[in-house]
């Protein structure tokens, strides 16, 4: 059984996490940084989830201390505040996951993320759908022309089923374009294809798109088989755009806008193997308006 530690100065949060996770994991709790450090020194944890704003040691500092003591420990932050405000900090402290404390607390979402991180099994839209959820369709894109057809169809189908496709077309446009034109590279790292030129991809460059839905949301997963994106790049780009520094250039705009337009965006990276971007939109407003940071680099 995996062993996890939850750190939060709010007792209600500690207790509720314990109540929820105790049947699945061996969970311990701490009310502040020093309590947490004492526990980490005494025992090995597979994962530490910490609040950001706490008296004394703040979440990011605590996690970086823990990384020094036990480098193999996985870490996540959570916050009731605006995640955008912490992107720079995430970059500095090498944090890749910040969970928003939604109201009501989204156990399904957090449960799926925690499970993914612990088992290092993060790929696949189906992992993030509820029990009743289903994968609606899978596409393999072999050329730019097919890429266009897929985004047209996706937008249309989602619109028909849910009445609106939100900004999903824009996001899918951007991410499929990235996957077709930016992922394949020559040996020297330069882009292999010119943007918007008609291209036929090599079998090793096919882009895989999956979409599905459950009772509360729908989602699209776009996978390229290159795995050239890195967590550091993603954080750098999002950070620049959140601060308004990147408004006038192309670099990272797509990732930033997709994160802005989708209710959830997850980026899974297996370096040199594949990159998956999952975007999800909720059907009701409860879990909207939070923009968490979910990047998993294996």
């Amino acid at each position: 059984m995996f062993k996890i530690l939850a750190v939060d100065d709010e007792q209600a949060i500690r207790v509720m996490l314990q109540d929820f996770f105790e049947d699945t994991y061996d969970i311990r709790v701490a009310a502040n940084g020093s309590e947490a450090l004492a526990l980490v020194r005494a025992e090995d944890f597979d994962l530490v989830i910490s609040d950001i704003n706490m008296p004394g040691l703040k979440g990011p500092e605590l996690l970086s201390e823990i990384k020094k003591l036990k480098p193999r420990t996985k870490t996540m932050l959570m916050t009731a505040y605006n995640v955008d405000d912490y992107i720079r900090m995430a970059k500095e402290f090498n944090i890749s996951n910040i969970i928003p404390k939604t109201v009501p607390f989204n156990y399904d979402e957090v449960g799926a993320l925690v499970d993914g991180i612990l088992t290092e099994n993060v790929f696949g839209l189906e992992r993030y759908l509820l029990g009743d959820g289903q994968i609606a369709k899978h596409y393999t894109i072999k050329s730019s022309e097919e890429g266009n057809a897929v985004r047209e169809e996706l937008t249309r189908v989602i619109c028909e089923k849910f009445g609106s496709s939100g900004d999903v077309k824009l996001i899918v446009d951007e991410i499929i374009t990235n996957a077709i034109y930016h992922a394949p590279a020559r040996d020297d790292g330069s882009p292999k294809y010119r943007e918007y030129a008609p291209v036929h991809l090599d079998p090793s460059e096919y882009v895989h798109v999956t979409w599905g839905y459950d009772a509360e949301k729908y989602g699209v997963s776009i996978v390229d088989m290159q795995g050239r994106l890195s967590k550091e790049t993603v954080l750098y780009k999002i950070d620049r755009h959140v601060r308004g520094e990147g408004m006038l250039d192309d670099s990272g705009r797509g990732i930033h806008m997709s994160r802005l337009f989708a209710d959830r965006m997850l980026i899974n990276i297996k370096p040199g193997v594949k990159t998956e971007v999952i975007v999800m939109n909720y059907l009701s407003s409860g879990y909207r308006g939070y923009r968490p940071l979910y990047i998993n680099e294996l």
């Binding site: 209600a12 949060i13 109540d19 939604t102 109201v103 009501p104 077309k169 192309d250 705009r253």
Partner: protein
Amino acid sequence: MNGVYLIVIAILAAAAVVLVAALVSVTARYRADVRQRMRAIRDTRHPEKLTPDIEEKIRLSKKQLETTLDAITDLICVIDTDYRIARVNRSYADHVGKSVRDLPSEKCHEAFWGYKEMCTDCPARLTFETGLPGKKSNVLKRVRGEERLLEIEAYAVSDENDRVVNVIEHIRDVTDEKRMNEQLIRSEKLASIGIMTAGIAHEMNNPLSGISGTAVNMLKMPGKFGLNEKGLERVTMILECAARATMIMKDLLRFSQKQETVRLPTDLTALISKAAGTVRIPGGSRIKRTIDVQDDLPKVRCDPSKIEQVFVNVVTNSVQAILEKRRVTDNAAPAGESIHISARSIGDEVRIEITDNGIGIAPGMESKVFDPFFTTKGPGEGTGLGLSICHRIVEEHQGHIAAGSKDGLTTVTIVLPVGKDPWDEAGGQTLVTGKRGAHV
């Protein structure tokens, strides 16, 4: 944004003061010069020696002074010791609704205020008596049915015996400046309320997350908590209350963020000419840019900086479209390249059309051009976000934007509602005013 306007105003005010000071010395020097020449002429005892050359010089000098005075948009009035007007600039004459030539020898109080008697708190009186500058602030005057706030300053012009022979009155309309100041204070207050609200809302999120999270656990695992039907009912109630409190918090957050968008009655004429003038792209200077704005265009309630951004974006696109056409047609000597901007009021809306004869929009792409990331430009030339940002901004203003090409002309049409709020009716505020030019 307001800060920038304040700085601009401060610079303008400083420039006006410097100008007036210069005027005082120029006028004094001019008078001394004329006196000296007259003396020289008398000394020769040959009045006929006023040669055409000297006459021409005097005429030019006089003309120069007039032009300088008329270029100043503040009101300038030179009065003599009898408080009779010796000279005014064009702004002054326009203000009182008379011609520059009719005013001299009228009493200043009569011309400006319509009073038979001298004003009790005349700032010029002190200057005549002491030679020191006089100043009167916060002077209220009804101008064309509107209350305006004036600031009057008086400067002495002395003869060689240091006797004050004239006083220059410099009258400045500070209404907009004052209002802007008030608006700045108001928006700063709102901003701090906003920051506080956002802080509270986020802080409340933490316990609310705990309350609702615990309640959800209890509902999902009633056995774990020994809950019976009644217990479940109560916990459901707790969850509903937490959800309601969250709704309130979210609304508060939205409200606090909303305060960041300003809505000020704005003169679009100035924004349009500014945008048309600021867009500079290599090769674009030869393009003819014309502006045709209806004279009495109503002010539009909007966020001036955002609307300016819209105009700049659209004009940039027009310039690039023309350059692109020049490139594909290999037209080395471009002739007839033009961008035309017009603005008209139609009902409760203002309609702005920006037309160019550039490369145009491909048929069927009219609606796509507003999609984020849509671009026909090469890498590094544009992000494809320009028009989508315009679209969002215009929508935020409850307006609409459309684009289309026909017969070699591409027109982007922006329609903005004039908009009203109770504050407008109480006087409103013009943040951007056009400057009247003068020919020198």
